[in-house]
């Protein structure tokens, strides 16, 4: 729904057309040029202005999990082209480009790992892959991660980053909203925590399905989160949008989020929360 203004926006880091050498990144918020090593040491939060730069799925795992604890679950499921979708190029061509760019079969990475010693199942969407859009594979991998979590008695932590549904799979893509939802039922039945982390941006069909039915929903500061994209809304109402509209802080105020948590504090926050919600995890957890 809200893809249009993401496709044209360049990613902050190491993007084609970026005239800075690969060692440096220009913060899209304060425009300062920052040494990547410093950004990396700061969880890719701008040390000058606190802006949370977008992460790809692997970076997300690095930031979220205890070092070396990640074991990948996904990766054997590949997208196909059930609709023979052709627009200005074919869907397979688009997919190949996204795969080459990200080195990943689809816009999702799942696996298990630990957060301050608490074992979790984890899924991270990859906005770098076709705007994190959800097609059959993203839906399937999320469903499998949820089922694997339930089977292994693990909580699920899911980091959303998506412009919405994958147009090129039309109704099949739409159905992923229901598929992921029913796959999450196993966690509910076993009383296992499901925590959703909304990152910039989370819109469209992802906001309207698995990302917002979690037990606890937190967001990164300043993330754009909504169902309809700001451009669509502006076209409909022909008024300018209020300051901060659809940003994390706005949603917190409107009762939609449990909290807005700085990325650098997310591991501590999630570990604490998981121990609180699943008291048995208190024993498993480390000292922190």
């Amino acid at each position: 729904m809200a893809l249009e203004h993401f496709f044209r926006r360049s990613r902050p880091k190491q993007q084609a057309g970026n005239d800075l050498p690969d060692l440096w990144t220009k913060c899209p918020a304060c425009k300062e040029t920052i040494y990547n090593k410093d950004l990396d040491a700061n969880s890719w939060v701008c040390p000058k202005c606190g802006h949370h730069l977008r992460l790809d799925a692997q970076q997300r795992m690095d930031v979220l999990l205890d070092p070396g604890s990640f074991e990948q679950l996904s990766g054997r499921v590949f997208p196909s082209d059930p609709l023979d979708f052709v627009d200005t190029e074919t869907y397979p061509e688009r997919l190949e480009r996204a795969q080459a760019k990200t080195g990943r079969p689809e816009a999702i990475l799942t696996g298990r790992g630990q957060i301050e010693g608490v074992p979790v199942m984890v899924a991270a969407m990859d906005f770098a892959f076709s705007g994190g859009s959800m097609g059959s594979v993203v839906g399937e991998e999320i469903a499998r991660a949820a089922e694997a979590a339930a089977a292994a008695d693990l909580p699920l932590v899911l980091v959303a980053a998506s412009g919405g549904a994958r147009m090129q799979e039309s109704a099949l893509s739409l159905m992923q909203m229901a598929k992921t939802t029913v796959a999450l039922e196993g966690l509910h039945a076993k009383g296992l925590p499901y925590i959703s982390v909304l990152s910039d941006p989370t819109t469209g069909g992802v906001t309207a399905s698995f990302a917002t039915i979690a037990d606890v929903i937190i967001a990164e500061p300043g993330a754009l989160i909504g169902f309809a994209g700001p451009r669509v809304i502006q076209q409909t109402i022909r008024q300018s949008l209020p300051e901060g509209f659809q940003r994390s802080e706005f949603l917190l105020e409107h009762g939609m989020l449990d909290d807005v948590v700085d990325r650098r504090e997310q591991r501590a926050y999630l570990a604490r929360l998981l121990r609180l919600l699943k008291p048995s995890a208190r024993q498993q957890g480390g000292e922190q």
Binding site: M1, E4, F7, R76, V77, F78, P79, P82, L83, F85, V86, D87, T88, G135, S136, G139, E140, A165, R166, M167, Q168, E169, S170, A171, L172, S173, L174, M175, Q176, M177, A178, K179, T181, V182, A183, E185, G204, G205, T207, A208, S209, F210, A211, I213, G226, F227, A228, G229, V232, I233, T236, I237, R238, Q239, P242, F245, Q246, H254, G255, M256
Partner: protein, 326 residues
């Protein structure tokens, strides 16, 4: 065709009226005006094309775009047209008990061809006035929250749910976002997946994205022959991919959003045939076909226990999607 220019004049008049009211009273009627202005613009383009003899875009498109045109035909029966023909004692229950009463998503108990059901329906409006009132079938979160409340009642009283889907999509507005449009749709999908009673859904004309799926998690999903159901409207898809909404016919082709497409993809169980030329040419016959199909599926599901219904619905949607495993 002169019917269309009458409608155009009507609408333009109504828009001017509303604009005056807004100026005079200081009321903000933009929410009501915006979709109306769009409608006017669309009709005006069609009218211009007709007068200049230019080929209407409908003609430029293939069979799929023609069907989209039929699905949006001004005389197309609305959900309430079917309900009037197929049910008795429909008792509309209003409100979400939280914030408001959505005018685009209605519901309540009714007797569907002799079968007691809980009815949910999306109503677009039948004339300018009701179209505006019903926001052209686009719900705010209140609509989905009302639907969930009625699903609770359906479960309590063991009434099967019949959901008649007809929406261009959920309403894209500031207030809708403020009150959690995405959250409401997600929760409605979840709530519907948990129904202990049978649920039969039918896409009547337009099945626009999450706003349609919110009440589309049925044990059976049916679709009228000339309806479409898609993750995005052809116009929005065209403006994203081609940067040109006029490429909607091409987008419609690419999206494979018609009833036969969806049957082939396994998204729906059955295509309900319409009278030749479309449902608007014989509303009674169209209603008869819808009524018969829904009743048949209700009867088939009626012998299943709650666990079977739950499991069947979960499996149905869990299996959705096409991918390769390597």
């Amino acid at each position: 065709m002169s019917g269309m220019s009458d409608l155009l004049r009507d609408l333009e008049h109504k828009v001017r009226d509303l604009e005056q009211t807004a100026r005079k009273t200081g009321q903000n009627l933009e929410t009501a005006l915006a979709p109306l202005r769009e409608e006017v613009a669309k009709l005006r383009r069609a009218e211009d094309d007709r007068q200049t003899g230019r080929q209407a875009p409908e003609k430029a498109g293939g069979e799929r775009w023609e069907r989209v045109g039929l699905a949006r035909h001004p005389e197309r029966p609305t959900a309430l047209d079917y309900v009037e023909r197929l049910t008795e004692d429909f008792t509309q229950l209003h409100g979400d008990r939280l914030y408001g009463d959505d005018p685009a998503l209605l519901g309540g108990p009714a007797v569907w061809q002799g079968i007691p059901v809980m009815l949910l329906l999306q109503q677009k409006g039948r004339d300018t006035k009701t179209k505006i009132k019903r926001r052209f079938g686009m719900s705010n979160p209140e609509g989905y929250r009302k639907a969930m409340r009625l699903m609770d009642l359906a479960d309590k009283f063991g009434l099967p749910v019949v959901a008649l889907i007809d929406t261009p999509g959920a309403y894209p507005g500031i207030e809708a976002e403020e009150r959690g449009q995405g959250w409401a749709i997600a929760e409605s999908i979840q709530r519907m997946s948990r129904l202990k009673v049978p649920a039969v859904c039918a896409v009547l004309s337009e099945g626009g994205s999450g706003g349609a799926l919110a009440i589309g998690v049925g044990n059976r999903v049916l679709i009228m022959e000339n309806a479409w159901y898609s993750v995005i409207s052809p116009e929005a898809c065209a403006s994203i991919i081609w940067k040109d909404a006029a490429q909607a016919p091409a987008a419609a082709e690419a999206l494979k959003l018609t009833a036969p497409d969806l049957l082939e993809l396994g998204i729906v169980e059955e295509v309900i045939p319409e009278p030749a030329g479309g449902a608007h040419l014989d509303k009674d016959a169209a209603a008869q076909a819808l009524g018969e199909a829904v009743s048949r599926h209700l009867r088939e599901l009626s012998s299943l226990r709650a666990e079977e219904l739950l499991a069947g619905r979960a499996e149905r949607f869990r299996a959705m999607g096409v991918f390769e495993e390597r």
